[in-house]
């Protein structure tokens, strides 16, 4: 029991999950704020949500679901010792993250163009409930977007570590935990899609 430190697999996993719980609570608080605001302003939320582009929201959902498949398969590949496939899939996942952000930027750009941003001319003349909807929309998709950005950077780092054999078969918990983070980002978007685009 001396010499090189043994990788504590279970400890790493539990540590990552504890961090993910704080993320649940961070977004959970915002979901509670959304639920309360919506219960008090049902018509305004309904009207405002019709202005969001369903095709863009669904496209971003498909991008994230597919990227989740890629990173899950990347974990399977490295566990089986297929480094090249794992590297390819991790890279593809990061590309999906970048694509998601490009879509999101286009979507926000269209809203900005119509004066819809916090305190923007397209919002101040509207009922309070609609301003509230767009405020929550920008905060929640914005915070989620920051997570996508962080995840994309994290996965790019993982691709480098895979290439350098720092993540390898038998010692792949870094990639597994990065995958957990990416899936969390996907789960949060799974909830954001109906809340903002579909069910209001």
């Amino acid at each position: 029991m001396s010499g090189a430190a043994l990788p504590d697999y279970q400890g790493s996993k539990i540590g990552m999950w504890l961090f993910l719980f704080t993320e649940f609570m961070l977004f959970g608080g915002l979901f509670i704020l959304y639920a309360g605001s919506r219960a008090l302003n049902p018509e305004a939320f309904h009207e405002a949500s019709r202005e969001l582009s369903v095709p863009l929201g669904v496209a971003n959902t498909l991008i994230l679901l597919t990227s989740s498949l890629f990173i899950a398969a990347a974990v399977t590949a490295i566990q089986k010792g297929n480094k090249r496939l794992s590297l390819l899939l991790t890279g593809l996942t990061a590309c999906c993250g970048a694509l998601f952000l490009v879509n999101k930027a286009a979507e926000w750009g269209m809203k900005f163009h119509h004066g819809i941003y916090p305190n923007g001319p397209g919002l101040v003349q509207r009922p309070t409930g609609e301003a509230l909807f767009f405020g929550l929309y920008f905060i929640m998709t914005g915070l989620h977007g920051l997570h996508v950005l962080a995840g994309t950077v994290l996965l790019s780092v993982m691709a480098v570590l895979l290439a350098r054999q720092r993540v390898r078969q038998g010692d792949s918990v870094l990639l597994e935990n990065s995958g957990l983070y990416w899936h969390l980002v996907d789960v949060i978007w799974i909830f954001l899609l109906p809340l903002f685009y579909l069910a209001a």
């Binding site: 999950w17 959970g28 498949l69 974990v75």
Partner: protein
């Protein structure tokens, strides 16, 4: 103490099936939102948690984890659900 150096291996065909289910459920969610706003809300309340459970169970390997981790995740999510429940109690009886 190193009985487990890496996690359970989930085979790729399983992952692809889960992905296909997620895409189909998304299609169902979009279809329901075109029927009526009541259908959209019900679809959201039923389909969205199923999608999240699929990602947590298969992609995040929770199905294959030990009871300790499952219990921790359950406790965290149950806490969140209790908070949301309390919020609606507050709004309803205000």
């Amino acid at each position: 103490m190193t009985e487990q150096a890496q996690g359970h291996i989930v085979e790729v065909p399983t992952l692809v099936k889960v992905w296909a289910a997620l895409v189909l459920l998304t299609a169902a969610l979009v279809a329901a939102s075109r029927v009526s706003s009541g259908a959209a809300v019900w679809a959201m309340l039923i389909i969205t948690p199923v999608k999240a459970a699929l990602v947590l169970g298969f992609f995040m390997h929770l199905r294959y984890e030990k009871a300790l981790l499952k219990g921790m995740v359950f406790t965290a999510l149950a806490t969140l659900v209790i908070f949301i429940g309390l919020l609606f109690l507050d709004i309803s009886f205000r």
